[in-house]
C-alpha cells in the first residue's frame, strides 16, 4: 500500500506466475504471496488479472489444475507446472533477459 510497490511491467505476469509455480503446486493466492515475498513487497500482482492468467496458462497446457486442501484444510485449486510449462518458463526467462539487457544498454548510453 505504499508507493514503493510497483505495478507489473506488461508481459511479465506469465513469467512470474510460471516461476512461482515452478517451486511446487500453489493456489492462486499462494502465487501472489510468493511473488510479494520474493520481491520483498516491490512487485505486486493485480489479483483480478491473476486468475484469468492462471486459467489461460492451464488452457495452453503450461499448468495443470487440481482441487486440493491447503494447510488450514480449506478446499482450493492448486496449480502445477507441466513439462511444456517449464519449457515455456525457460523461453520467457530468456526473452526477459534479452529485453532487460537491451534496456540496460540504452540507459547506460543515455547516462553518458
Amino acid at each position: 500500500m505504499t508507493s514503493s510497490r510497483e505495478n507489473l511491467i506488461p508481459g511479465t505476469l506469465n513469467l512470474l506466475v510460471l516461476k512461482a509455480v515452478s517451486s511446487g503446486p500453489l493456489h492462486g493466492y499462494g502465487v501472489t504471496k510468493w511473488i510479494l515475498d520474493r520481491t520483498e513487497d516491490v512487485l505486486r500482482v493485480e489479483e483480478g488479472v491473476l486468475y484469468p492468467a492462471l486459467h489461460r496458462l492451464e488452457k495452453d497446457g503450461s499448468l495443470e489444475a487440481e482441487w486440493g486442501r491447503n494447510d488450514t484444510g480449506r478446499r482450493a485449486k492448486f496449480y502445477t507446472l507441466t513439462a511444456s510449462g517449464s519449457e515455456r518458463l525457460r523461453t520467457e526467462v530468456e526473452r526477459w533477459r534479452r529485453t532487460s539487457r537491451a534496456v540496460e544498454v540504452v540507459i547506460a548510453t543515455e547516462g553518458a
Binding site: 483480478g48 488479472v49 488452457k59 482450493a76
Partner: protein, 895 residues
Amino acid sequence: MALGEGFRRLFRSTNDIDGEIREELEAHLEMKTEDLLASGLPREQAEAEARRLLGDRPWVVEECRKVRVHIKRGKARRERLDTLRQDVRYAARRMQKGPAMTALVITVLGLGIGVNTTVFSALNDWFFRGAPGVSEPDRLVALFRSFGPDERIRLGHLSYMKYAEEVESFTGLAASRPVELVLEEDDGTALLEAKLVSANYFDVVGVDMMLGRGFLPEEDEQAGTHPVVVVSHTVWRDRLGSPSGLTGEVIRLNGVVFTVVGVTGTHFRGLEALDDVDVWVPLAMEATARTLFPIWKSDRWSGILTVVGRLVPGVTRDAAQAELEVLAARIAEPRRQTGRKGSIVLDPNVRTQEFVTRIAVGRIGPFAGVAGLILLLACVNIAGLLLVQAMERRREIAYRCALGAGRGRIVRQLLTESLVLAVPGAIVGLAASRWLGWGLARYIAPGFQLPLDSHVLAFAVLLGVVATFLFGLAPALHVFGSTSGSTASFGAGRLFGRGKALSALAVTQVGLTMLLLTVGGSFVKQLRAADDNDPGFETENLLLIEPDLRMAGRDESEVRDFYNTLVDRLAAVPGIHAVTVAGNAPRVKNRIGWGGRTVRANGAESEEGVRVEYNDVHPQYFETLGVEILRGRGIEASDDRTSTPVAVVNQTMARALWNSEDPVGRTMQIVRASGDSDPIEVVGVVRDSRTFVLKDEVPPELFVPLEQNGRANLTVVARASGNLDAVAQVIRSEIRSLDRGLPPVTVETLADRVADTLAENRSWADVASGFGVVALVLALIGLYGTMAFTVSQRVQEFCVRIALGAAPGKMVGHVFRRGLVLAGLGSALGLLISFALTPVVTAYVDESLGRMSERPDAMIVALCFLVLTAAALAACSGPARVATQVSPMEILRHD
C-alpha cells in the same frame, strides 16, 4: 429429444464452470482475509480490503469463464475424436475380415464416383472456371443477336463496330474469328490455329502478355496495312527459339511476312474451352487468311464473329443488357425476311458459348445421366449388402445396446463404417476419373482437358459423403428400429416391405444391364460385320494423299494444273504403280459434293429419275483401285472438255436403269433444277465395289471424268508397294517442291483411314459395352444382395419347414426360382426398352458404316439372356447354400 438433452448438458456445464470459478475466488478471499486478520485488521475491514484487492469480480469471473469454456470444448472435441478413432479402427478390423467384399464395395463405389467426377470435371472446366491466363474472367460476357428465345446469332463486323463505339457498360468489346494459317519455315510448313481479332482483344479479354504488347488501334483500321502478329507461348518456344526479348522477329504466314509484337503467357490458350490457338492477327489482315467469307467492315456474313465484352466494374449484367437493348433498337439492322430488329443477349459462359454448350448437352448429357444412375445403383446395392451384414450383426448390436451403448453411438459407428468404405472409394474414383479424362480427350477434341482443381476435389468428396449417407443410413436406421424392441428380433412386416423394394430394384438393374448389353452388343456386332464385307477392290497398299489447296489462292485452271503435274510426277516415283485423282476417294471424310445426283436414262422403258452416287475421277481410277471393268472401257485421258461427255456406271446402276440390257453406248441425263444436263454417253460398266460405304448394299454409282467437271479439293490415290512410309515421304517432298506454301499434306494408307472412321463409332461401342459390364457387375451384386436378404429373413421360416419335414433341396429350389423370376422380369423389361432405344442409338453411327438395323440383334439378345441367367444363378448360389445349411437348431439360436 437429443437436442433438448444437449441444451441441458450445455447449461449444466456452464453452471459447473461458474461454480468452480466462484469457489476458487472465495478461497482466495478467505485466505487473504485470514492473513489480513492475522496482521491485526478487524474482520469487517479485512474482508472489505480483500474484496477491494481482487478488483472487479464479475469481470474476473467472466474472463475466467471464457477460458474455461474453451478448455471444455477442446476436451469434448478430443473425446469425439477418440470415439471416431475407435469406430474407424473397429470398421477397419471388420473390413479386414471380408477383404473380397470390401474390395468389391470400394471398386463399385470408385467406379460410380469416378464416372460422375469425370462428367463434373468437364462441366466444371466449361462452365464454372474462368479461362486460364485471363484476369477477372467473371467480368467477361459474350454478345449475340437474337430474334427470339433460344436464338443466338453472332454479330457481323460492321454492327460489332457500331456497338463497340457506343456502348458504355463495357470497358470494351472485343471481336475474334477462328481461321487457319500456314506457317512457312525453311524446312517445311505447319498449319496453325489462328484468330483474327480486334485491336483491343488482349486488353478486353485481360490476357497477361509474357513479352511485348497486344495490338494498337491503328493496326486494325485499314485493311491489309499492318502485318503484325501475337504468338502463343508454344510458338515462341518451338518456332522462335525462346528469345528473351522481341527485336523485330518475323514469321511467314500464308506467304505474308508478319512482325511478332507480343507473346502471350503460358496459361492462355484462347478464350474458348477447346481452343489451342497458336497466333493472333488483326482482323484487318483477313485477306491473308483467304477465307471464303470475308467479313471486314460489312454485315454480309454474320454467325462468324465472336464478340466478348468486359463489364465496367460495378455495372451488372442486367444493366449492360438494358443498355444494349436500347442501343439495338436504334442501330441494329432489321432482318431482311422479317424486318424485325431483334435484340442483343448476353451469355456469361464465354468459354463455351453455343457451340460447346451443344456438345456438352449432346455428348456429356447422356454420360451424366448414366453416370448418376450408376452411382445411385452402386449406393443402393452397397446398402443392400450392408443391410444383409446388419442382419447378421443384430445380436452383436443388441448386446452392445444391452451393455449400455447409446442408440446414437451405434448409428454413428455404422455410419463411420460406411465412411471408411467411402474414403478409399472416393480416392479410387478420383484416379478413375483421371484415366477416363484421357479417354474423353480422344473422344471429344485434342484440346480437351480435365483440369483437377478444388471444385473437382470438393465434388468427389461430396459424392463420397452423400454416398456414405445413402448406403450407410439404411442399415443404420434398420438397426435403430430393430433395437427399439426389448428383444433383438425384427418386425416381419417392415422387413417384408424392404424386401419388396430390393426385389424391384434388382429387376430394374437386370433391365438396365439387358438394355446396355443388347444395345452395345448389337453395335459391336454391326461394326464387326462392316469389317467383314467384301470391298470389291484391292484395299492393300493404297495411299490417300490430300493436298489442302483452300488457302493457296488458286483459280480453277491452276488447280487443274496442280493435280495434273502432281499425278505425272508421282507416276515417276519408284514404288508407285498407279496414280489417280478423285472427287470422292475411298472413305475420305470430307466428301464435298458427295450425296448423289438424280439421273434419267434416255430411251429406256422407265423415264423416271434414279438417285445415284456421283464421283468425278481421273483416268486410271479403276486401274489404281483395282476395280474390275466388266464391259466397255474406263475413264481415259482423251475424255476432256472438248470431247463428248462420258460416264462409267457400276453393276447396280446398270441394273437400275437398263435392267438386263447392255448400257454401253446408251445415254442418260443428270436431272437438275435448272434443266437437265447434256446427254452423257455410258462407255463402261465396272464391278460393284464398296468404295465409300461398308454397308451391306452397294448403291448405284456413276463415274464421270474429272476433266469434264472438276472442283478444288480432291484426293490423290496411289497404289504403291514396298516401304509405304518411305513412299509417303517421297510424295510429301514432291508436293513441297510443287508449292512450298501448302500446309502439311496428309498422306495416309487406306487401312489407317478406315481405322480412323471406325474409331469414333468404336468408342461409342466401347462406352456402351463398358457401361454394360459395369451394369452387369452391379446387377450381380443387386441380385446377390436381394437373395441374401430374402434368405436371411426367412431362415426362421425355412427352419420351421425343415423341422416339419420339408427337404432342404426344396428351399434351394425356392431361392433359385425366385432369382430366376427376378432376372427374367428384368431381362424382359430391358429388352422392351432396348427396342425403343436402338433407333436412337443407331442415329449416332457414321453413315459410312451403313444404316444400322433399328432392332437389337437376335443373336446378341439370346446371348445376353444367357449371360444374365448365368449371372442370376451365380448370384443365387451363395444365399442358396445358406438356405441348405439352416438346421432346426437355428430357431433356438434365433429367438
